[in-house]
Structures are given as C-alpha cells and as structure tokens.
Symmetry: C2
Subunit: 454 residues, 2 copies
C-alpha cells in the first residue's frame, strides 16, 4: 500500500482559513468536537449508506500547505492585516486530532453523526470542507447504488457513469461508492487499478460504425476477443444484428442492448440465442437505466442478465444532493467543557459528543436507533461510531470494499420492508434521541436565552 499522498490545504472554503487566522490571532486555543451528519432524508430515500471515509482519512493524514500555497494566501486582500505568525503556523500545519466514524457500507439515518472529529479548533475547522465533500458525495452515490442493486434483485449491476461524472476524479470515486452500494464492478479502469474493483466493458457503437459492414465488425471483434466479446447490437437494428452474430457461428460471451424496447428485444434475443444452442450467451442492457426501469423490466420477465447504470447512478439523478453538515457540538477551553448548539430558524443542532446506539430484533432484523451521548449505557445496543484515527494517525485498516459491500447488503436486508421499499416512504422515523441528549439540548437553549436577556 503506498503512503497517503499529500493533499492541498487550499481545498477548502476561504472562511475556514479566515477563522483559523482569527482563532490564532486571538489566542483561542480551544479543543473542539465537530460532528458530521445529514440533516434530513433527501427525496426518495428511506435510508442512507455511509461511504467516503477512506478518502476523508486520507485527506486528514495528508493535508499540508506548501510554500507556494502560503505565498498565494499572502496575496489575498482578506489577509493583508494578518501577521507572519499565521502563515508560519500553516507551513507546519498537520492534523493531529481524533476521529470516530461509522464504517463504510453501514446503513444510517438523518441526525446520526457518521463522523466525529475532536482536535485543536483550528485543525478541526480547516479540514471541514474537504471532509464534507468526501463523505457527502460518496454517501449519496452509495445510497443510490443500494437502491439500484436492490431493484436488480440479484442480477449484476455495473457502474457505467464516468463520462457523466463531475470530472474524472468524481468518476473514480463514484465507481468506488457504487461498489459499496452493491455494484459488481465498474467500467472505470482507473478505479479498477486504484481500488481493486472489477472492471467491465467491451465495445461501443463507434466500433460498429467504423466498419463498413456490421457483421464484419462483429467478426473482427470476436477474432481479437474470442472468449470475452459482448457485442453491441443496437447500432442499426437489434434483431438483424443478433441474426448476423448467429450467422457468424462464433459464440460471443454476450450481447448488449443500449436502446429500444429492452423487454421485447431481450425476450426475442433470448429465444433466438437459445434456439441456436447459445444458452450461455448473456444479455446485458444499458442506456438511461435506474431502479424503476430495472424493476419494471424484471417484472415484465425480461431475460436480462446484467445492467450497466451510468448517468442516473453517478449523479444520483432523482435526488441529486445530500445535506451533509459539520457542526460544533462541544468545546474545551482553558479546562472548561461546554456543549454547543445552534438554534437558527428550522436549523437546530443537538449539542454534545454523541454515539449512535442500534437495536436489533432477536432474529437480527433492524429495530431502531437511539442517538445518545457517547457515555450512555444501552445494554444490547450496537455502537455504530468507532475510533478510526488517533492523534492524526489511522487506527483502523483501510476499508475493504468487498467487506463494505457485504455490510451494506446485509444491513439493507435487515431493514423492515417499509424502509427497504423503493417506492413508499416510511411512516415514522426509526431514530429517536436519548433523554440525556434532549436534556442537554434544553439546558443549552436555556443558557443561551438567559445570556440573550443579559
């Protein structure tokens, strides 16, 4: 495993750095705890799947400010009144904090902290933006992938979306998150090399169009890839193409439909292939697929063996944003510990260092979660947050994506039918707050109101 590459400290919002300067210049050397969570369920999601932790920890281990970057910061108008002290601090900047997190692939719900950072306040603040970007994106994609693979009901789903991803890095990360959510593999070769994800894909329309004759295009591809060719049959006419392949007499690994009436064409093609003794030739479908269309095709009895899902998956197209936030919940300053909460209109956050306690039914089915303070005792509850970094160093192995995918599969299967439903909203939240946490919130509210009156 290569060592963690350096990451630029400038991959952040400017206000993180102005606040850092502010804390430093005013001597506010507090130790702070921030929690990262999703405020509310996005549209069309009953549960979420945690992903992106490895990239978040990579960032924390690798974040640095280079001399060139510091020179750039010195040119910004906002820092003109700031002395050398701050820039010298940045040159030596390392993240030295402790992190607790929910493992990748775990199912979770809004309000539940999925990552908790305790560190000198400047460090915890500077890393906010990149932590959010890492967790927010992959969690959104893994949560979508869990729906898509659930709809595929055991048929293979391959992530095909790099070309529609938000740049090439997003394509690689989407492939990773899609695997956590249940995909068998990806078309993205870089993701295959970087993360050991299985890669798939054989030919595009251009291969067919580049040759004058479609049958000749198939024949040549089979020559080069005798055992691996999945031939694309919709460039001109699906049924004519299938007949051309059969006429070649050379069995491909499969055929791919990329447009047209997938149900009718797959049934027709399956019959034709079987009549030719080609029962082992697979039928693969791609093109504007998502969970509803896949479920519909399978309900119609379409004999499709695998699905390539791109745009809808890597953009979580039916629910294209996730409100992951990172909030200060506790601060320790000159020996005194104070919990912090926010009471903006419609945006209350709970104070205190929290833990998520999960309860299962005797048969292993998921029952409910309680969000409580970290030191509460709930017999028989599973504690979702576990330490992942101590003093700025990882204290757990990197995520094994095969294990994370299995964790996701298992936890989704343990949800109630209602929570697992792709079409129905849950009638109530399976999450509540502990009495101690509610009391802490009331105390904080009372304290702030009292302060406001003075």
């Amino acid at each position: 495993m290569p060592s963690t590459p350096q990451a630029s400290g400038l991959l952040t919002d400017l206000y993180e750095l102005t606040m850092a300067a502010g804390y430093l210049e005013t001597g506010f050397d507090a130790r702070a705890t921030f929690e990262l969570f999703v405020r509310s369920l996005p549209a069309r999601r009953n549960y979420l799947v945690a992903a992106g932790l490895d990239q978040a920890l990579d960032f924390l281990e690798g974040v640095r400010f280079s001399a060139e970057e510091i020179a750039y910061l010195r040119t910004l108008p906002v820092f003109q009144a700031i002395g050398d002290n701050f820039f010298e601090y940045l040159a030596k900047f390392r993240f030295s904090g402790d992190v607790w997190a929910i493992p990748e692939g775990a199912v979770f719900f809004p309000g539940e902290p999925i990552l908790r950072v305790t560190a000198p306040i400047i460090e915890a603040q500077v890393v906010e933006t990149s932590l959010l970007a890492a967790i927010n994106f992959q969690t959104m994609i893994a949560s979508k992938a869990a729906r898509v693979t659930q709809a595929a009901a055991g048929k293979n789903v391959i992530e095909f979306g790099t070309r529609r991803a938000h740049g090439t890095e997003a394509g690689v990360l989407a492939a990773r998150a899609a695997m956590i959510g249940g995909c068998l593999g990806t078309s993205n070769v870089a993701a295959g090399m970087q993360f050991g994800i299985h890669v798939y894909g054989t030919q595009a329309h251009s291969w067919i169009m580049a040759h004058e004759d479609e049958g000749e295009a198939f024949r040549k591809f089979l020559e080069v890839f005798p055992d691996q060719a999945v031939l694309l049959v919709d460039t001109y006419d699906v049924r004519a193409a299938v007949d051309k392949i059969i006429a070649l007499g050379r069995k491909p690994r499969g055929i791919r439909l990329d447009s047209g009436d997938f149900a009718a064409d797959s049934k027709w093609a399956r019959k034709r292939l079987d009549q030719s003794g080609w029962q082992s030739v697979i039928i693969f479908a791609s093109g504007d697929l998502e969970e509803e269309r896949i479920a519909q095709l399978l309900a119609e009895g379409a004999p499709i063996d695998g699905f390539g899902v791109g745009t809808a998956l890597v953009n979580s197209i039916d629910s294209p944003s996730l409100g992951v936030i990172y909030k200060l919940v506790e601060i320790e300053y000159h020996g005194a510990v104070r919990s912090a909460a926010k009471f903006s209109t419609e945006k209350v956050t709970y104070p205190g260092r929290k833990q998520v306690y999960r309860f299962h039914r005797p048969g292993g089915q998921f029952e409910s979660d309680i969000i409580g303070l970290e030191d509460e005792q709930f017999p028989n509850a599973e504690k979702l947050l576990q330490p992942v970094m101590t003093g700025g160093k990882r204290c757990v192995a990197r995520t094994n994506l095969f294990e994370a995918r299995e964790r996701c599969r298992k936890q989704v299967s343990q949800l109630s039918e209602r929570l697992r439903s792709l079409t129905t909203e849950p009638d109530s939240s399976p999450v509540s707050h502990s009495e101690k946490l509610e009391n802490l919130l009331s105390d904080a509210r009372r304290r702030l109101r009292a302060a406001a009156r003075t």
Copy 2:
C-alpha cells in the same frame, strides 16, 4: 504557466481500451472524426454554455500510460489473449490529433458539435471518456450559473458549493465553470490559486458557537479583520445579532443571513444599519438559494447585495445531468473517406464533419444557428467551431476566464426574451440543419439499408 501535467490514460472506460486493442490487432489504422455534442435540451434549460475546454485539452496533451498502469492492464482477464504489441503501443501513446471547438463561455444548443476530434482512430477512441467528463460537467454547471446570475440581475453571486460537490476536484472545477457562467467568485481557495478566480468568505456558525457570547464572537472577529469582516447573524436570532453588532460600534464590511426569512430580515437589517449611519455595510445571503428564490427575493424588494449559492449550483440540482455524447461522424481508411451515422431507435446521429453557422440580426441580437458541413458557405454567418489543437498541440491560448465570462454574459444578453426566460420553454428550436447535411444523412441511411438487404 506550468507545463500541462500528465494525465492517466486509465481515466477511461474499459471498452475504449478493448476497442483500441481491437483496432491495433486487426490492423485497422483509420483516421476518424468524432464530434462531441448534447443530444437534447435538459429540463429547465433553453440554452447551454460551453465550458471545460481547457481541461479537455490538458487531458489530450498530458495523457500517458505509465509502466505501472500497463502492468495492471496486463492482469485483466479481457486482455489475456492480447499480445505485447498492444501494451508496447500504450507505453508510447500520445494524442496526435486535431481538435476544433466552440470557445468557453459561448452559448450553444443541442445537436451542435462543441468539440470535434480528428485523429488516428485508437487515439480518438481512448480519450473519449475523459473528454466527455470534462466538457459535460463544466458545461452543465456554467449553464446553471448563467441562470442563477441572470436571476441576480446584476447583484453579485459567489459560488459556495465545494462541500456539496462531487469530491474536491469537482469543487474546484465547479468554481471555474460557475465563473464562466457569471459568478463573481468562489469560496474555494484552491480554485482561486489555480485559476485566478476571486475568493470570498469570512466566518461560519462555528466561530459564533465556539465563543460563549455572540457579541464577543463578533468583537473578536472585527479585531482580527477590521476591514473585511462579514458577520454571520443567524446562529441564534438575526435581529438580536444585528443589534449586538451595532452596539459594538465597530462597522463590519457586511452581515450574512444564512437561514430565516431573508426578505423580512434583510429589510429590517437594512433599515437598522442605515439608521446607525452604516449605509455602506452590505447584506449578503446564503443557504439553499437558486434562481427562483433569488428572483423572488429581488422582486419582493429585499435589499440584498450579494448571494452565496452552493448546493443547487454545483449539482445543477434542478437538471442534474447533461447528455453530452461523442459520436463517430467520418472515417478515412486506406484513402477512402466515409461518413458515419447511427440509426438506433430514437438515437439518430448526423454524419459528416460539421460546423455551426450563427446568424445575428442587424442590431447584434441572436437570430438562429444552422448546423452544416464544415466546408459550406453562409455569408454573414459566424463560424462557432475554431481550431484549438493541431497535431496534439494547443494552437490557442488557455481560456481567459474573465473573457469567457464576458462572452457568456454578452451572448446570453443577445438571446431573445423567450430563450433567456428562466421559466418559459422556447416555442421552437433556433437551430436547423443545412440541406447538404440532411442529404448526407439520407445517403447514409440509404446506403445502410441497401447493405442490410444484401
């Protein structure tokens, strides 16, 4: 300007590489022309804004396969039957083709090629996925930014979305595209350094919450940033916060509202600030903003001087995908030139090397576009596609983002009211195909049908 960094050739779909092996192994050394375009208008968009060209050209100049990457490819099952010839080819791989493109910031419409690649077919094929990812994403974001800034009607819009972007690279690229679409700047510091975009931002809720007293939090920040502080006033109670700032007697640069009733609070705050003689203190708003909400606020007379727009902008949340595609349109093999088209159900593509001819009214207003063949003559028409790369080398300067933003602003302002509308769809497309192009499509269709009958 640093030289273009290397880019991994693995940032692609596996099928690009299997086709490359196929072309090489079968000796198919054709020269191909591919065109990149958007098939149809996405929801809620009447026009699109080209962006991402610089990153596309960076990729073409820098794409390489390292020894480590080639070693990985050799392990893939699909390549087990492929000889050394292919891997030796990849080790020497360079993009040597010619590229024409529409400049960044230009307004365009579906069906119009925005980038055209002519190269040895393997090269043109291998780069497809990364080209699409670069252009698709930034074009989607620039097109959204044009709407948001149009709604802001001259008020400043700052891109605030990195934390909700698809990873940190996507955050940087979104900031770039948002500027092309009209944003004044970004909160993303790395984008500021890399692209010279102006960066903005001052403090978050955590600064307020970290201090026991809100007034004290304001006072300390003003001490460190006497001329630059934009103070966040919605952590507990907006109006109480504004009064605390006024009571400090130290004028901030501005205040920021991040939740609540922006119209009512901004009117109240403006009055209060003005009464204190603080007419120059700006009011900035952020939090779940998009074009409709901004237009509504301004229509209600909210005295807001600038808007921070994040999630909705960097995810193009109301229209979260764009169908940019890359299609083979012409092939030259052993001296014979043949145009290529595709006739899948609902997915016809026009053959031939094309140009976009734009017509203006005498006053400079946009009139219409004709998509024609590259060598057609239309007096008075502006040709949108221009050469940007020859023999694998850039033949134009990198995009000046200030010029691209001005190009976008000007071209959007030249559109008809109907096309510029944020709420109404155009009654008809302003784009048609030339007679020569329609004839070429009919010829290709006839040729393929004749071939199908034999």
